[in-house]
């Protein structure tokens, strides 16, 4: 009886240990994979058309969803913000509220989440399917490094497209807020823009937003190419890898956002 309990506990601990070791090993594998991708990156820039093709798939094809979501987010922010601000007679601060939330947080984060589900999943599925159909092995047989030919251009395509998409998201959001705030509700046009410009500085507000979007771009692109490259070469494996990209990418964005915000804006509260 007693020994059975001990065996049961030992089994549980062993399973926990194995799971921990496996996840740490996977993390280490991902890190080494990331280093390898960066090492193979010169090819992605020497043969620039490969990267441009990936910017097309990751960036251009995400334009519509980013622009439309950005505009709706801005419109909703303007409606909700006006409702609260009006109670305190501060409706002229609507422009600052909307633009600051978009530039600092919502632009990079929501654009990153959309990017992970729109472009990240596509990258994972594509690389995963290439692995399943042994195209990657075939390339290696022909002495073409799949890291340089397939993975690095997709990684850099994502890294380049992401900040541009985030900036576009913020601009569309501000435009949406302008439509609702100024055109629909009737906040004064001059105070809307004037307070926005007075309340937002290029440094640190906008630059920090851009830094965030670059970091998210690196994180999501790396997760996407890694999950694709690491996928089990079966139909289920590819589907699981795609899911892991979206879930892991989204969680990585939110966690990184918290860490970056702590470093970027904590100092400003103490000034």
């Amino acid at each position: 009886m007693f020994s059975a309990a001990v065996t049961g506990i030992a089994d549980g601990l062993r399973r926990l240990g194995a799971a921990s070791i496996a996840s740490v090993a996977r993390l280490g594998y991902a890190a080494r994979f990331g280093v390898a991708v960066v090492q193979e990156s010169p090819t992605a820039f020497v043969r620039l058309h490969l990267t441009i093709r990936e910017i097309y798939f990751a960036g251009v094809l995400s334009l519509i969803i980013i622009a439309v979501s950005g505009m709706f987010v801005g419109m909703v922010l303007a409606l909700q913000g006006y409702d609260v601000l009006e109670r305190y007679g501060a409706d002229e601060s609507l422009g600052v509220l909307v633009a600051l939330s978009l530039v600092r947080e919502l632009g990079p984060v929501v654009a990153g989440l959309l990017f992970a589900s729109r472009a990240g999943s596509a990258i994972t599925a594509e690389i995963g399917l290439m692995k399943t159909t042994e195209q990657l092995s075939a390339m290696e047989m022909m002495a073409v490094d799949p890291l340089a030919r397939i993975v690095a251009p997709r990684f850099w395509g994502g890294v380049i497209a992401m900040p541009l998409l985030a900036a576009l998201f913020s601009v569309m959001g501000v435009f949406g807020a302008y439509l609702v705030g100024v055109r629909l509700i009737g906040v004064d046009n001059g105070t809307f823009w004037g307070n926005m410009q007075a309340g937002i500085d290029f440094w640190p507000d906008i630059t920090n937003g851009i830094i965030k979007s670059v970091v998210f771009g690196v994180a999501v692109s790396l997760i996407a190419v890694f999950e694709g490259y690491d996928a089990k070469p079966t139909a289920e494996g590819v589907s699981a890898a795609t899911t892991r990209t979206v879930v892991g990418g989204s969680l990585a964005i939110l966690a990184l956002d918290f860490v970056l915000t702590v470093f970027m804006f904590r100092g400003m509260a103490n000034v």
Binding site: V60, L63, L164, L165, S170, V171, I200, D201, F202
Partner: protein, 156 residues
């Protein structure tokens, strides 16, 4: 899809993206502020700065002419020593008065400069001698109540 079409679309995409960043910088933010312009520093001491913060605007006649660069406590006089960064295009006379003001009841705190008539101008590192501290609302209300109590009692 052939390569030149992709190139065209990526070109459009990158242009839109960079245009968005420029829009954020110029229209949403205020990249065109005084930060980049050449400027000089002025020192001024206040008994009490109220809620003045770094980077608060410095205004003369309501026009922004500079920003507050630093705020610290003078350990000898226990006054607040404030460094102002003023745009080179604006010169102020030696008898300028600096006062801490609030725009509106709950608005931002800023420093207002009232130019005097002295022909000599302040130069880089110069010190504004006359200053007017922030009005602390609690003190003002306290004073008002005290005055009311002391002046109101004998009349009745």
């Amino acid at each position: 899809m052939n390569r030149s079409t992709i190139d065209l679309w990526v070109g459009i995409f990158v242009t839109i993206g960079l245009g968005a960043i420029v829009f954020l910088a110029l229209k949403v933010g205020n990249l065109t502020t005084l930060d980049a312009k050449p400027s000089y520093r002025l020192e001024v001491n206040f008994d009490n700065i109220g809620g003045l913060k770094m980077r608060a605007p410095v205004k003369a006649a309501g026009v922004v002419v500079g920003r507050v660069e630093s705020v610290r406590l003078d350990p000898k006089t226990y006054e607040a020593a404030v460094t102002l960064k003023i745009d080179n295009g604006y010169q102020f006379s030696k008898d300028t008065i600096a006062s801490i003001l609030t725009s509106g009841l709950l608005g931002e705190v800023y420093i207002g400069l009232d130019a005097g008539g002295d022909p000599q101008m302040l130069t880089d590192g110069g010190k504004i001698a006359k200053s007017q501290s922030a009005v602390v609302l609690e003190k003002l209300i306290g004073q008002f109540l005290f005055d009311k109590a002391s002046s109101g009692a004998p009349n009745k």
